[in-house]
Symmetry: C2
Subunit: 328 residues, 2 copies
DNA sequence: ATTGTGATTGAAATCGTTTGCACTAAATAT
DNA sequence: ATATTTAGTGCAAACGATTTCAATCACAAT
């Protein structure tokens, strides 16, 4: 079924039918006739022909490291929500944590004529930066503050600073921090800096800090906590760079026969739904993941509609909420 | 940059360049020249022009109710994994549980010339069935056994039957079942039937069963469990239609001052990662979600390549593993 | 009666590929 | 030596929309 056939049935020219769909000048008379023919045939214009002619695809690409993952899937959900209110459709690329694939997807999406890309950021490499610079379509990054690039991210630094401050104010003085790789600027560097800032600026007495680096998993958190408990027996507070890690660390603490929070208090970040399942319930920081997705989409759409011109790079930092539960 | 320009640079005809990419007859000489020109210009053929001409888009649509959700995101992850090994790209439609949107997406994807669709099934309505029948591209359903439609799903019935049997064999005789709406054939009807089958065929003595229906959430599980505890004080075993529900129910049991599993044992299904976070750890049934996604993609590709002709409808039922933990 | 105005209208060009076809030249079979 | 295949080649016609442009028409103003 083509626009020509519909035109024939309605007794008008193809141009008229096109105008019917895209809103050019059209008499009421023909509008009616076309409407009838369209309803009768169930005709819908071919998207690819439209792309060909106009160069606009109505497609937006999303690149995500892992689609299962509390944070990414919530961001995704925000993106999908906002997308639904628009004319755009979503193309998904899942890298499974492979950095080369990230770049491949940018190029593949470019070839598919997406109008914009949302990249859920993890680590920024030089190769990625140049791929982004070469990319002719706008890219918005989530979860990371990549300099010079539009992005929507969380206030990881202050979230961790305040969280740590909260722990210090409850009298804990021998803090352990279980972080993640510094390659991840947001979850790695910023969060660690937040913890350190809180400790360095604390004026209520002497405080010690031991830091270790873990993977993004519960099991890794457990292992690292075991190490810490073996090394420094006086640890009385643990801050973790993710809830996964924290929940694993809780197991280790319990296995070592210590009470939470009596002997050791602990907190994570991410406000995972499992936090309230754990006993004691885990104190955490709520990050606005879904909102992050919505704002990213918003930013991208603005970029696309304004053709990326005369519009300053927008970097949005979202706030956070400390959710105090039993573990602190 | 078009195929024509590259052809000019390489000093050949556009046809030759096309054949270079798609593998028609081509002399080694020209192949070299074209390769050089392509590398030099970084040319990649326009996808939409290709779609226009061939009618094949290389796109596969995925319709998902909620992208965050342990089960759906794992299926999605399987789909993405398998897709990566193919020439296809993924288009995502997230319905947020809206059934009308499910149908809208089928039509929208059809318009976008996807070559096939994977639909993560929840409830099959007459409207959905007719939308699927009218759809000219193949559709594979996951998680549900829709009659006459290719699908990949789990053996919900036997999973629950065996799980319940396991509980009975540990001496529990007053079973409560917290299910979900029967509209969902897999999670609702099949799982309930499995529980009932185990109880009806049990020959080791008298067994009682009380059933209630909950939502798919932890909070709902907690509320329903409170009801049950109020109603029948002798309940000594609880089976839940999801891990979420079970984890919520555990809270209620604990709040009522009962011990798990001493007073009441409990089990769920889904093998969520939070099961091992909970105390006691929750017994559950592992379902092969990721594999489900992989097989769905596999089935769909076969359908597409064979043009959907002369190929019997494939309905794949995947097995399960009962993961016995502390709560049983 | 003539001209000007503004709204409709359809013919035709265009977007960037793929592919059927006709054709050549070389290789093989008769 | 001739006939037949075979591989390689480029021309030109699609694919199905949008959009420019010139033509048409009704109507008002001169």
């Amino acid at each position: 079924m083509t626009i020509r056939e519909v035109a024939d049935i309605a007794g008008v020219s193809p141009s008229a039918v096109s105008r019917y769909f895209n809103g050019g000048p059209l008499s009421e008379d023909k509008r009616k006739k076309i409407q009838k023919a369209v309803k009768q045939t169930g005709f819908a214009p071919s998207v690819s022909a439209k792309i060909m002619r106009t160069g606009k695809s109505g497609q937006i690409g999303v690149i995500v490291p892992h689609i299962h993952s509390d944070s990414f899937s919530h961001i995704m959900s925000g993106i999908a929500d906002r997308t639904r209110e628009t004319k755009y459709i979503l193309i998904l690329g899942c890298t499974d944590g492979d950095r080369d694939r990230e770049i491949e997807y940018i190029k593949a999406m470019e070839r598919n004529k997406v109008e914009g890309i949302i990249l859920m950021g993890t680590v920024m490499t030089p190769a990625l930066r140049s791929a982004m610079e070469e990319c002719p379509v706008p890219i918005v990054v989530t979860g990371q503050n990549f300099s010079g690039v539009p992005c929507v991210y969380h206030d990881d630094f202050n979230a961790m600073r305040e969280l740590t401050g909260r722990m210090l104010s409850k009298g804990r003085r021998n803090i352990a921090y279980i972080g993640v790789t510094e390659e991840d600027a947001a979850a790695g560097r910023e969060r660690r800096r937040g913890v350190e800032a809180a400790i360095n600026s604390f004026e209520g007495g002497k405080v010690s800090l031991t830091s270790v680096t873990a993977e993004f998993s519960s099991e890794s958190g457990r292992l690292k906590m075991q190490e810490i408990l073996k090394r420094s027996t006086d640890t009385d507070g643990v801050i973790c760079a993710s809830d996964f890690i924290a929940l694993g660390a809780m197991s280790a603490i319990r296995e070592a026969g210590k009470q939470i929070p009596a002997d050791i208090s602990i907190a994570g970040i991410g406000d995972s739904w499992a936090d309230v399942i754990a006993r004691p319930q885990l104190t955490s920081v709520h990050l606005y993941y879904k909102q992050c997705g919505i704002e990213a989409m918003e930013t991208l759409i603005q970029f696309i509609e304004k053709n990326g011109k005369n519009i300053p790079v927008r970097q949005i930092m979202l706030g956070y909420d400390i959710i105090e539960r039993e573990s602190l």
